[in-house]
């Protein structure tokens, strides 16, 4: 009997922005990974983004921060704390799981759901700021917009990301960017956060992705392999490990 991939697995490649198994720390760093942002730089970037949000939303009176699991959630919490610090008013935050709205569900075994937790005040008439760690293809954000539509009708939706690595496949852009990180599609970007991974860092890796991509493509089944570009993705390493453990198909 085919085996389930517990934890849902992640996706690689431009077909979708990758998403690690919910709540699992990233233990596999790229072999020759290079830290492009350290803890202090992440802290400063978030502080600047928080100030930009205050400026652009007239003091963030109606703002709700919604993080996309896994790593968007602690980022939303950190931004909310900064907004509170600066403005002295509590900024509501929550999480928005987008798994059920993804456009690539059929490409991978069914994955575990993340947690959705919207502040009790609801999102109608509010300014929702979506928060995620890496902006890549834009497909996660597209799914998040659909998910929001089923929850209510915000007055406006904005997007804040820690890292924008380019290679968009949809007409989507971020309103607030912690760091623009030009990458090639062969590279992978991993964001590590203390709450999940035990440390704060953004790591850029170079090695092994091609192989990881091929492993995955072979694994996804012939029908989809053709559409899998030589892939790069910030969790390709995790992903390969997951593939190997679940390889009983």
């Amino acid at each position: 009997m085919p085996v389930l991939h517990p934890g849902g697995g992640t996706d690689t490649g431009p077909a979708a922005e990758s998403r690690p198994p919910a709540g699992q720390p990233r233990t596999t760093l790229p072999a020759d990974g290079k830290i492009v942002l350290g803890g202090d730089e992440i802290r400063r970037a978030l502080t600047r983004v928080a100030h930009e949000i205050l400026e652009r939303t007239d003091g963030a009176a109606d703002v709700i921060l919604l993080g996309i699991p896994t790593r968007g959630v602690p980022l939303a919490r950190r931004l909310a704390a900064r907004l509170t610090q600066v403005e002295g008013r509590t900024a509501p935050f929550g999480s928005l799981d987008i798994t059920m709205y993804r456009d690539d569900l059929r490409l991978r075994p069914a994955r575990a759901l993340g947690h959705t937790d919207v502040p009790a005040s609801g999102i109608d008439g509010k300014i929702v700021v979506l928060v995620d760690d890496v902006l890549y293809s834009g497909r996660t954000v597209r799914a998040a917009l659909d998910a929001l539509g089923d929850l209510g009708r915000p007055r406006a939706v904005q997007l804040a990301v820690l890292v924008d690595r380019g290679h968009r496949e949809l007409p989507i852009r971020a309103d607030y960017v912690g760091k623009n990180l030009p990458t090639s599609q062969r590279e992978m970007v991993q964001v590590l956060l203390t709450e999940v991974d035990g440390q704060d860092a953004v790591v850029l890796g170079e090695g092994g992705q091609q192989e990881a991509g091929q492993t995955r493509a072979g694994h996804t089944g012939a029908g989809h392999a053709a559409s899998a570009h030589p892939t790069a993705d910030h969790t390709a390493a995790d992903h390969t490990a997951a593939d190997h453990t679940g390889g009983g198909q």
């Binding site: 085919p2 517990p6 069914a110 575990a112």
Partner: protein, 307 residues
Amino acid sequence: MIRHLISAADLSREEALLILDTAGELAQMADRPIRKLPTLRGRTVVNLFYEDSTRTRISFEAAAKRLSADVINFSAKGSSVAKGESLKDTALTLEAMGADAVVIRHPASGAPHRLAGWVRGSVLNAGDGTHEHPTQALLDAYTMRSRLGRLEGLRVTIVGDVLHSRVARSNVLLLHTLGAEVTLVAPPTLLPVAVGGWPCEVSYDLDAELPKSDVIMMLRVQAERMNAAYFPTVREYSRRYGLDGDRMGTLPEHAIVMHPGPMNRGVEIAASVADSARSTIVEQVANGVSIRMAVLYLMLGGAEATA
């Protein structure tokens, strides 16, 4: 995820917990303005019911519709089955129509297992004869976990017509997988011969078990499946194995009372017990939709599970 769900024993501990966790996330949806997810758009789920059912069929139908799947309801009455069509021919017809999943309830134990060999889609057992009813066991486990906070080490007492109960068998198997301790209580005539091989305890004395139970699950006396006299009178059965207000009083403070439905009030369960705050009977129905959404999502939502 597993391709077919025929028996509760098909599920490993990890898979069962993934279903319960997924159902927990999906249960939140009930409070939203739009209770629909686009996840199974374009997929077809066939409800193939050879036996009467209200809650299970409606529950599966609601679950599939909330995930945006197309649902085809097929009941043996008013179909070609009444003209003598065999299960296999019906299955091939469904196959030709492109069913991604077939939810089957059948009076013959083992019918879903046979069906799984004939169709390409997933088969979900919604109750086969006196064999199994795995989604009921999953929703029962979910209800226990949400009320009592855990399953590991929970003492569950299942009382009544175990012999004819697919709910009891599925619950014993699943709860054992999840680390709960199950005790079956029934008159000897209403226990299966092979019950000694089940991963559970057996007792004939309800009053002795009540004070040590965290969960008490009452089963319906399935008169329609009884072809012999299993106990002298309904009244005597009710006196010895029915749960009334006095018996409920001997349960621990935190214990809950469950019933898979439909109930025979006044036989296995007193009306005052069924309507008490300890009773989870209505909750079980609501949880059933979440559990079936979780199962459908995990079985149909991802890539084809075939190699």
